[in-house]
Amino acid sequence: MWSTARDIADGDTVIIWLTRDLVQPLLVTAGKEFNSKFGTYRHSDFIGLAFGSKVGSRTGKGFIHVLRPTPELWTLALPHRTQILYIADISLIVSYLDIRAGSKVIEAGPCASVESSSFPTTTKHRVGTGSGSFSHSVARTIGPSGRLWSYEFHEARAKKASDEFSRHGLAEIITLTHQNVCKDGFNVTDEADSVFLDLPAPWDAVPHAKQALRKDRTTRICCFSPCMEQVLRTVSALNETGFSDITMYETLVRLQDVSQIPAPPPVSEITEKLKKVEAVREDKRQRQIAAGQRSHEPHGEKRKRTEDLTDEEPTPPEDPNSGKRLKVAAVEVDMSPTPTMSVTPKVSLSKVVPEVRGHTSYLTFATLFPSLPTNASNIQIDS
């Protein structure tokens, strides 16, 4: 897999972190340049630095972070960055399928069939081979003693993924096959510990999956489907094929939006401000009346102005949310809530970000228990 050395070497894959929303992979190649809106960098500048270093651009304007790849950063760096949200799905699937050091796993990307044409191909929703998210995560978890058989229906995607796995040093762990598993099944029998299907019509592949799973131990399957109708049909197929403990989960992550703000002020603050506004206005009116009375000018313009002033009403702001500052006579009073004292403590308040992923897919899980022994000393068979 990716380099585990402390420092970056020529030929390493690194992850360039520009901002949280702008993360991309880079194959370090001495002599090449990396250009971004955060400046220009020579690849050779990265070589010899520790993974995880902040690097300033050659012009001194801007900087980037050069990170060691992980399956999670790799997912974050994929073109469809919403895929980061699949960390919830991927990690739950790995746990439920009991994938760990040395596991033998099958995954299959979408296969087209006449039947599936009425179901979404779920390109957006895929975590399978195509995107590589699941593959990289599983390869990391099973390690060098494990095995991942990955099946991809689209030839071009299969080629691309295969190249990528080789570049990332995963060729020993991942075997990629371009095959329609719904029609042609898997190339192993009684060998896999678990199967993950990211297919529009997983029910077509379920019997093949049973064949591929080993029968001497408990094994598990997960079908990843965005729509409820797919789930209902998958559940039937799993049940008919002899899987047990059929269950279904949905999982998501809800990113929190943490803001540090002054503690909300007590309402006494605005009360005092409003009283001040009243007082200022009345004071101004009194002074204007006094000025008007002192004036010996004849009735007319001046008088009228004074009269107007005594009648002065506060100007209603067009929108109380946009205009917090009320002009009262010549005195301005800030009406926004502010801490009464400068020592008002700040508080960190957390809520879910305004817009979140509301659904990825339904995860239908099932278990295939070892076949019952045909004879046993202390155990009686009841079927």
Partner: protein, 439 residues
């Protein structure tokens, strides 16, 4: 439109009237609020321009096509229509359909008067991968494009649900994160009904005030406390298009200074000796001022007299400081409902209320809402959704002076004191000991 539209529905008119601010749903799914004035021309940007008079008198909820600035009525969309058009963005964003015409190019074509269907044709022809697609997909893609560039729109009835959804989607901060499920629960928890009497602190652009007025149907009393020296402008009330009778007999407003019982508002004199009145204009102004002052004094008196059914708070100020000010005016058995975008703000309030026996059963709840796409064969929760719809604190104000209510001489004040202290624990919903108010 229909004479049988019965009288009880005068909260808002069932048809569009001149001066209404109407929500219009556009082909791309956006909703716009536009004022519909007699004889005016209404512009919907790239969707087109039409004569406002065509909408006046129409019932809400209809769909129109704009043809030569005139409106052509279309039948309501069926599920099949939706299925063919709803997933436009899904297809376009999945990276397979690369849009061959840029936005600028399309804009130029439209400005040159090219018809939508021609633009679509051009798009399809230029589409790199298009020939690889099945006939089925082709047809779907065409329909979706047609929808996106069509000149149709639908008027949206200003129900509380629709108006809340519009404002929440537009800017959740302005409605203090109150989603429609939260608003609905707030109104039910506060027991809003025709004829009820309520106090509201609404820094949520008038969303709560609109909800209360909509439910009161012109009967009852609502006093709101605002932050400004002038009467609060609640912009959401504009979108609701209330009839005047829904609002004026019901709603009065104070601010935090005029709502302060210990404070005597400084107002210009209204009782000016008649010999000092120099003009009819001044006289009329003084009358108006007197009328306003009387209204202010009446509202103050009414508030201070208390016995309101509920107190509803959605404020930028610290909620407990508001409770301290307004709780005297809530009747026993009345509800207190406080909304906040943050659990932490309400957690702090709940901790305070638990220690005070006049607040019964304070609870903090988070609202939870999930919408589904229900297209045939493609049922699933919506792919993106709002992260949160707010938190609600509810409590009941009670007369905790049990000794005043004791009917016997058996009562031992000390034992009762112990019991009073214990109920603070008993009200804690995390406690399982149901015996705790036995002293």
């Amino acid at each position: 439109m229909n004479a049988t539209a019965s009288s009880q529905f005068q909260t808002r008119a069932p048809t569009i009237k001149s001066g209404n601010t109407v929500l219009l749903r556009l082909p791309n799914g956006d909703t716009k609020a536009l004022k519909i004035d007699q004889n005016a021309t209404v512009s919907l940007g790239r969707v087109g321009v039409f004569y406002a008079n065509d909408l006046i008198g129409e019932p809400f909820g209809r769909t129109y096509d704009i043809v030569d600035k005139k409106l052509k009525l279309l039948p309501p969309r069926t599920l099949a229509d939706i299925e063919d058009t709803d997933a436009t963005n899904e297809l376009i964003n999945d990276g397979e359909f690369v849009q061959p015409l840029t936005g600028d190019e399309i804009q130029a074509l439209k400005q040159s008067g090219t018809h939508a269907s021609d633009i679509i044709k051009m798009q399809i022809e230029q589409h790199a991968n298009y020939s690889l697609k099945t006939e089925y997909s082709k047809e779907k893609y065409k329909k979706r494009k047609e929808a996106k560039y069509s000149k149709t729109f639908t008027t949206v009835e200003p129900t509380l649900f629709n108006v809340c959804e519009y404002w929440f989607n537009k800017d959740p901060d302005r409605v203090r994160d109150i989603r429609i499920d939260a608003l609905s629960q707030i109104l039910n928890m506060a027991n809003i009904r025709p004829g009820g009497r309520y106090i509201a602190v609404d820094d949520a652009s008038g969303l709560i005030v609109s909800g209360i007025l909509d439910r009161m149907g012109g009967s009852g009393r609502l006093i709101t406390i605002g932050n400004a020296d002038s009467p609060p402008a609640y912009p959401i009330m504009v979108t609701m298009n209330f009839n005047e009778e829904t609002v004026s007999p019901v709603l009065s407003s104070l601010n935090w200074a005029t709502a302060d019982e210990s404070h005597t508002p400084l107002v210009p004199p209204v009782d000016v000796p008649s010999d000092q009145i120099k003009s009819d204009r001044q006289k009329s102004r003084l009358n108006k001022r007197k009328f306003a002052l009387d209204a202010l004094n009446n509202t103050r008196e009414e508030l201070f007299a208390g016995n309101f059914d509920s107190l509803i708070i959605a404020s930028e100020y610290e909620p407990y400081s508001i409770l301290e000010r307004l709780i005297p005016y809530v009747s026993f058995s009345g509800s207190i409902v406080i909304s906040s975008p943050y659990a932490q703000i309400l957690a702090d309030v709940q901790t305070k209320l638990r220690a005070l026996p006049q607040y019964l059963g304070p609870s903090v709840t988070e609202v939870w809402l999930r919408r589904y796409q229900v297209l045939p064969g493609r049922t699933h929760p919506t792919m993106t959704t709002s992260g949160g719809g707010g938190f609600i604190l509810h409590a009941i104000k009670v007369n905790d002076d049990a000794s005043a209510n004791a009917m016997t001489n058996f009562r031992r004040p000390k034992a009762n004191g112990g019991a009073t202290k214990q109920i603070v624990v008993a009200e804690d919903e995390t406690m399982e000991d149901a015996e705790s108010n036995t002293s």
